[in-house]
Symmetry: C2
Subunit: 527 residues, 2 copies
């Protein structure tokens, strides 16, 4: 059994703190051995991806200590316990099994009397069969016409991850002739969200997926009623247009209100559910089950790499360790995620949830306050758009914000133009490599306004192209990075008690059970 200790009690962490002199990346990368550094400080990922950290403020001494820290914190042992079915989510006393949706990493995990890998693959099989029938027109609307649109109703993890993955693969699927149905998403309780989506679709040919693990998420149930009213008004039978993704014990599970129900369970948190039925239903319907299977396969391969004890063979663990060094030794408070790929436009928003909801905690696994900073602020937009927006502050602002770049050699659509001797894709790639060097090395100028201090660290994940498999690997990388960082900070990354208080107070407002300031605020909105 691994032992769970606070970061600041670890010997290797003290050593790391003693090495707080930042490696001079400006000097390293602009020196004659700069190219060697770029070649050396790289780790292979699955599906042809690579994690390159040559522009991070580390050197061989720091890396050695990071390896010691990984060993002392028993990171891979804890991962092993997790995938073998230990109760890692101590707050809610639950197993943590999202990796099991995509592969058998260790022993069989039996919970609630069943083999959980069988449970997840059975759901995938059921979804695949259902999706194929929908695509074949065997499951169709009342007039026997094919469904052309699928609409996911869900919020948080039932929205951000699946939506980001859908956007990431939409153009790939169109290009590769596996695009089956357009997908839309309704999440916000703001009625304008649902109204706008319903205005934009052909209701009679739309299939809705209601996603709620508990079957009690207020926003989602409200939007379900919103959609049902619209279907009714259009003279359609809602139960013939709606499926559910929920837990087997939820009130939705056996309701006749749905054409079919597919199941998840309590062992997969919302923000880690893209590979469960939550992502599986909408992605299989949109792109076909084979595409979803390839996505899972890429994630499984990356998950396997995360078992390696050696940080040079475990990119997620190395990324996690460098992040903790930046957060807790160098004192950087935020991380920018900047994909040079329009397809990943909502990937940063998904990571924002996955990371900040997991590690934005102030107490350790035992409920004791910690004496150090935990999860950083995560934000990002696609490059090159960001370059024309907030990069000014990243280059010349008073705070240093570490960056995670992502880039691909090839685009997804395969359409391009050659202008001034280069294609758009080449311009895109030229920009990301130029930014790495600009941030790291800066440029002296006697006009201080045009001076770039440099020393702004970044890493880059790069590969040939964004496919279902490489997307799966990319997602797994970040999920596992978050997990390892949670282990290091000794927090429970798999609950989210911080979202509860607002819910409780909102119910009081709606029940008019308020007084004082809250009553006064409510009255501003006529409640």
């Amino acid at each position: 059994m691994a032992t769970w200790n606070n970061l600041d009690t670890l010997k290797a962490f003290s050593q790391l703190s003693d090495n707080r002199d930042r490696t001079d990346i400006a000097k390293e990368l602009s020196s004659e051995t700069g190219a060697q550094r770029v070649q050396k400080y790289t780790v292979n990922m699955a599906e042809g991806l690579h994690y390159n950290y040559a522009a991070k403020e580390v050197n061989d001494t720091i890396l050695k200590i990071l390896q010691d820290l990984a060993d002392e914190a028993q990171l891979t042992e804890k991962y092993e316990e997790l995938y073998n079915g230990a109760v890692i989510n101590t707050g809610e006393k639950r197993l943590v099994l999202h990796q099991l949706t995509r592969g058998q990493l260790g022993s069989d995990v039996v919970a609630d009397g069943i083999n959980k890998r069988d449970f997840y693959t059975t759901q995938q099989k059921n979804i695949a069969e259902f999706a194929k029938k929908v695509h074949a027109g065997e499951i169709a609307n009342a007039k026997g016409e094919k469904f052309t649109t699928v609409v996911q109703i869900g919020i948080g993890g039932s929205d951000l991850g699946p939506r980001a993955m859908y956007i990431a693969l939409e153009n790939w699927a169109k290009k590769n002739n596996t695009f089956k149905m357009e997908a839309k998403f309704i999440s916000n309780v703001d009625p304008d969200d649902a109204a706008a989506v319903l205005n934009a679709i052909d209701l009679a040919h739309s299939l809705f997926i209601l996603v709620s693990k508990s079957g009690t998420t207020l926003e989602t149930l409200t939007n379900e009623m919103f959609v049902k009213e619209a279907l009714k008004k259009a003279g359609l039978d809602a139960s013939k247009h709606m499926i559910a993704v929920t837990s087997e014990t939820s009130p939705l599970a056996k309701s006749s209100d749905y054409l079919a129900a597919f199941f998840m369970d309590d062992y997969i948190g919302g923000r880690f559910s893209s590979c469960s039925a939550v992502g599986g239903a909408v992605l299989s319907l949109a792109f076909g089950p084979e595409v979803f299977a390839a996505f899972l396969d890429g994630a499984a391969k990356e998950d396997a790499l995360a078992k390696n004890r050696n940080i040079q063979e475990n990119p997620a663990m190395l990324d996690a360790l460098i992040g903790v060094y930046e957060r807790n030794v160098l004192g950087y408070g935020a991380t920018a995620v900047l994909p040079y790929s329009q397809a990943l436009s909502r990937f940063p928003a998904h990571l924002q949830q996955a990371d900040m909801e997991s590690n934005g905690k102030s107490v350790n696994r035992f409920g004791e306050p910690v004496n150090y900073q935990t999860g950083p602020l995560i934000f990002g937009e696609p490059g090159t758009n960001g370059q024309h927006s907030f990069y000014q502050l990243l280059h010349q602002g008073t705070d240093i914000i570490p960056i995670q770049f992502i880039g691909f050699k090839n685009g997804q659509c395969g359409v391009d133009v050659d202008i001034q001797g280069s294609t758009s894709q080449q311009k895109l790639c030229a920009n990301v490599v130029a930014q790495i060097m600009a941030f790291a090395c800066g440029k002296e100028d006697s006009n201080r306004n045009k001076n770039f201090a440099g020393h702004r660290p970044s890493s880059i994940i790069y590969g040939e192209s964004l496919t279902p498999a490489s997307l799966g690997a990319l997602l797994s990388h970040f999920e596992n990075k978050i997990m390892f960082q949670g282990f290091l900070w000794n927090v429970n990354s798999f609950d989210q008690e911080g979202v509860q208080l607002g819910k409780v107070l909102a119910k009081k407002v709606l029940a008019h059970e308020t007084e004082g300031a809250l009553k006064c605020y409510s009255e501003l909105f006529g409640i």
Copy 2:
């Protein structure tokens, strides 16, 4: 003439620093006088909006010092100089005239031999006439058929602001029968961005707006060629499908490649150009010139409020001062912008540019390094989505991140459902007021995992509904807040030298003029 001094040389700033004891908002808002505080700490904005700062860590003493700081820093005098045409953008030696697009705030401003207010209103008139002809079918495609879609090609300020404003008003316009044409946006040099937009539209009925002040923005010119190739392939005459928004001196201004050209000038920075022809063309085409005029009118009214010396009558200035107090005295590094309105889904992304590109600087107006933090990191997503995402960290993380909420009593679409005794809109509003209190007051729990420390400050801008006029007021509020903060930090908020180095290096990469690390990075992408 105002004098420009660094923040840390001001007497009032020293006094503020001496008052670094945070006001106990948990105590204040949960006390018997909590409601009074909510009523008292509010400032009227234009168009029925209000800025409420009862949940900010200020008290009457701090507010008195903030007024002194405003006076000592000569904030309104500097604003007066700005709108009267002083060279406030010292780096590029330019006037700063975006407010002049929406109203005459002071004396006539004459530059380059012309009255600039006349120049901007002439452009508005020209755009209005053009838009009306398009809507009437007098300007049409080669077959004489009406244009149904308008596509903006631009990046940075030519994209984020206009796109955010379009999304903010799309459903309002549909509901109010002023929706004329759908708008799309192409920005990223990633060829998949343009390819996806072109796949989704009906080229023969699409009108493109090429937006580039200089006429040399590489991303935009590249995307223009991308679009022209597509038009050519479809057998269409590109010059009959494209207009330009540019400066009068740009190579695009008199080119026969465009149906028409509308002008901006060097006195309006990209991130402040939503009210110029940059936003005017696309918004007038999409919603009609009357809607754009109402938007400008709302902004003009809010601009007028920013002239008030009294911080209780100048919401933008008060917001700016509280922000500086949070940044430079309380030490908070980021600000979350959280609109409880799906229509404002991209408003935070626009503010991210407007704020971070303006005030993410390390040198003052005279090119001297400053000894204090300047612009914070800005990020945000719409509530309630954010509640199910990163709010966990905002509630229970180790860093305090101040929040700017935005909310409206009514939705835009006017469609709603009543579930469990309340409408969706009421649930939305109940959530935002509940969050203010949850962040400020927290909740003690013996289970530390469920404990909320509170003392997390927020403000809220609220109003009846999001209309063209209130959107204009909202935009003006934040533009002026950014301007006042730039005055306080004594930085030049109107240049962006920090974006240059990356461009220079990207050109070198494309020209294969690289060596060492940069060459090595380039080779990873096959360049």
